[in-house]
Amino acid sequence: MTRPVIEVRGLGKRYRLGTMPGLGRRLVSLLKRSGDMTASDFWALRDVHFDVDEGEVIGVIGRNGAGKSTLLKVLSRITYPTVGQAVIRGRLASLLEVGTGFHPELSGRENIYLNGTILGMRKAEIDRQFDAIVDFSGVERFLDTPVKRYSSGMYVRLAFAVAAHLEPEILVVDEVLAVGDAEFQKKCLGKMSDVARRGRTVLFVSHNMSAVQALTQRCVWLAQGSAVGVGPTPEVVSDYLNSMTGSSTVDVTDAPRDQPHHASRVRLRRISALMPGGFGFPFNDELLFEIELESYAAHSGLRFGLTVRDASGAPVLSSITPPAVSTVDGETSVHQLSLSDTRLAPGSYTVGLSVCAGGAEEGRDLLDVVQDGPMFAVCSIGRQGDQVFNWRPEYGRIVHPSAVVTRLPSRPVEAAA
């Protein structure tokens, strides 16, 4: 089997915006005696080329609206290309289709058969997998209850159980990491690596760069409908991230200051959180900030103080840089500040920043303080594929890496005598 499983050649998809196509338009323009019904064209995909080999796990990345979903729609035959062609060799199934065709009035049992058939399973196949599906879903007690009475969790579990027992030759996973609860995401990832381990092909579409890096070997990067990068994941992802290092930026030039003398010698102007992909820092990745400083005098030996607060406003950590920052009178300077190994739990945070001169001996001299800097997020998946699932606020804000258990010598239980 040397031929690729998916072959995409010059694929393009055009959508017409705004007007009614076909007979309707012709009639209307006839009635109006004018041909001014111009449709504006929108190319959701243009001239896309790539191959996917058997057993490959390939990532599709790009911003919202780059054409990822359109590509999937074309490959899964929901819509047709406008130009070019694609060849699919083998049965393709998508985890997008979880629960497609579920009917609320039908029982769990009836829906397993209906949904399984819609997903392309034969009756004999469903019969054979039925017990496994029911086990996996954990809803056996409600098998004969209409699914409209199911809790949403049960509903999703049942739907996923059916999809998980599909045996596609090509599996398409689209953004499932973004929906559903953590448990569900874990199952999806599990199913994916399961399918990949069996040597089947997986097409993984995601915004989550950490997951893409952990799970795929090659990537297709789409931008405005074109495949601007196809190649090994590390290269494509880093090109992609460089092209769009998203940031959460706050202009603090005119933000209120607590003390009137603040910002009189040095003023904080802008603080940015440089999150890869603009979505958040991967778990335990380096937190990177950019600070713009305006100086009204020459300074040297300045320090930055940084405080991270959680979503409720409680401070989580603070750090003070060495006294190494210097400025020139009348100049604006930009500084990068990074924190590594924070073990910050997934969630969203805000940053507060201060600039000070001096140290412990001569007493610290605060030059400027800004409480409300930019917000940033920490994702649940790290760069090395380590994942933090089901983290809850009551566990705190730090994931401690290395709790140690030591078993002490045991003693027999003393009899009451």
Binding site: I78, G84, L106, Y113, T117, I118, R198
Partner: protein, 284 residues
């Protein structure tokens, strides 16, 4: 589970699909439809299962509509307007035997034509031959037709209609009614995707159609206009159906004429469907 997978691999060789702007370039792919027969059946079964959930009468509703229509028509046309004098059978059974295929036809046509729009969610998410949608929508009305046959049997006993050999041909008459409904339903389904006006046209169309179809009156009432009625894909099948039930002579000429028209309509419908099929997911 792993053994099941190897079984599956052995039984299903890799199928190659080429996606091109022009698509398959034919009216319909019979082999593909056959591969998807499970889905056709399952979608029809869904409609049947869902239809009478949480209803009081359940499957009895399949009988209520033709029976009520029969009573009304018997009173209005049979008694007051005296159509009954032209009929060689008790008017209630005459009109009921016409209403059975007619009720199926109207239900099947409206379900088929709306099937793509009402299942838009599925069309946007997954591939299957789109033709399955209007075709499977006819299965539930077909089940209703079978149930309504029970009442027909009762009426035949009541009015003392003899069993005759013509009854053996009923499946053929039903098949020609299904053919007519498939053509009209698929055609309207293809149109409904782009033109939602069709939804408003259907009830009106069906009302008018009833009067140009020999449901409440016999086909031969139309005398010299009978050939024109033959252009109606439902005229021949209904009168043939009724003749089989009542043991009268079957107007084979009118029946065949209607079948030819039905085939032509179906051909047109498949052509229209194939043309608009490509745009379904984008437009629906």
């Amino acid at each position: 589970m792993s053994s099941a997978i190897t079984d599956l691999d052995a039984s299903s060789p890799r199928r190659e699909v080429v996606l091109r702007p022009e698509g398959a370039g034919r009216l319909f792919d019979a082999a593909e439809l056959w591969r998807y027969r499970d889905l056709l059946w399952r979608l029809g079964l869904r409609d049947i299962q869902v239809r009478y959930k949480q209803t009081l009468l359940g499957a009895g509703w399949a009988v209520v509509q033709p029976v009520v229509m029969m009573v009304v028509f018997s009173l209005v046309f049979g008694r007051m307007l005296g159509v009954a004098t032209n009929v060689k059978a008790p008017y209630p059974i005459f009109v009921y035997a016409g209403l059975l295929p007619w009720t199926f036809f109207t239900a099947a046509v409206s379900a088929s034509s709306l099937s793509l729009v009402s299942n838009a969610g599925m069309l946007r998410k997954i591939y299957f031959p789109r033709l399955l949608m209007p075709l499977s929508a006819m299965l539930a009305p077909l089940a209703d037709l079978l149930i309504a046959f029970v009442v027909l049997g009762g009426m035949m006993l009541w009015y003392g209609v003899d069993l005759n050999w013509g009854l053996m041909l009923l499946p053929a008459a039903v098949a020609s009614v299904v053919l007519a409904a498939a053509g009209v339903g698929t055609l309207l389904a293809a149109l409904t995707v782009s033109y939602r006006d069709i939804k408003h046209v259907i009830p009106f169309l069906i009302q008018v159609w009833l009067f140009v179809t020999p449901v409440i009156y016999p086909l031969d009432l139309a005398d010299q206009w009978a050939w024109l009625l033959g252009l109606n894909p439902m005229a021949g099948p209904i009168s043939a159906f009724r003749a089989m039930v009542l043991g009268n002579a079957i107007d084979v000429w009118a029946w065949m004429q209607s079948i030819v028209v039905s085939l032509a309509v179906l051909g047109l419908a498949l052509w229209m469907f194939a043309r608009s099929e490509r745009r379904f997911a984008d437009v629906v």
